[in-house]
Amino acid sequence: MQTANASRPGSARRLLLAFLFLTACSAPSVAGAEDHVVEIANMAFSPAEIDVKVGDTVTFVNRDLVPHTATASGGEWDSGSIGAGDEWSVTIDKAGETDYVCTFHPAMTGVVRSD
């Protein structure tokens, strides 16, 4: 049936459009991932606690004058030094609750919860 329809130029175009439409529609669910932003400003992570899905990305944006880190307390991930005005991203690949800290400024803490 497809072959027969495809043999007609009009049908082929419709098939292509349908394919493109379905591809476009399915892209978000295939990629699925969201990017969450945590701002580092006034010596604090904001929001300090976020809920994400496995596969999502968390981007830390440093708006302070001084460098910071975003370092998972269990060693799962570590940004290293994020300079003033710079950012760093991590893709969360496991479900669970991860506490993190700025190793330069231990009073700065946050939590990423993923499921």
């Binding site: 006034n42 010596m43 302070d64 004058l65 001084v66 460098p67 003033a84 190793t103 330069f104 400024h105 231990p106 009073a107 700065m108």
Partner: protein
């Protein structure tokens, strides 16, 4: 420990021949003098950190000193960049000179110590010094600053130095 911090603060304040709030209470400080005082205060803490990095064997004290060096250098770089943008130069003054005189004595005292005694003295001084600087920024320097950009910079700096003060207090409880 708390008592020691308190007396250290009093001792530093005495060296400046004033209470903490009077650290820069000379009436009529202008913005260029305030910028000089803030810059000098930062350089002094960098000096203490440099001594600590030569002397300490404690990883937490070393990490703290690294942060003091890194953060105060960044804040002072930002201050210099702002002054350059405004095309003005910081103005030396009696308060900056008093700060530097007191700091020279403290550097000599710290340099004569080693091991755990050094760590304790360095951290206690960091608590007292940040208390003094932060109180002065909050109660005197920031309220007296006229230029909005300098005021914003000093306000950001106060947020950073307040975290330093808490960090030093936490460290003080650990360094025994």
């Amino acid at each position: 420990m708390k008592n020691k911090s308190f007396w250290s603060a009093i001792a530093i304040a005495s060296m400046l021949s004033a209470s903490p709030a009077a650290f820069a209470a000379d009436a009529g400080l202008n913005d260029l003098q305030i910028a000089h005082i803030a810059y000098t205060a930062g350089q002094i803490d960098i000096g203490y950190a440099e001594i600590a990095l030569k002397k300490t064997h404690d990883k937490d004290v070393r990490a703290f000193a690294d942060t003091m060096l890194r953060d105060h250098a960044k804040v002072n770089d930002a201050a210099l960049a702002l002054l350059k943008k405004l095309n003005v130069a910081p103005e030396d003054n009696a308060t900056s000179q008093s700060l530097e005189t007191a700091a020279a004595a403290k550097r000599a005292e710290l340099s004569a110590l080693k091991g755990a005694a050094f760590d304790k003295a360095y951290v206690a001084n960091e608590v007292a010094y940040h208390q003094l600087v932060n109180t002065t920024l909050d109660q005197t320097l920031i309220p007296e600053t006229k230029n909005a950009e300098l005021k914003a910079l000093l306000t950001s700096a106060l947020g950073i130095f307040t975290e330093h003060e808490r960090h030093a207090e936490t460290l003080e409880a650990e360094v025994k």
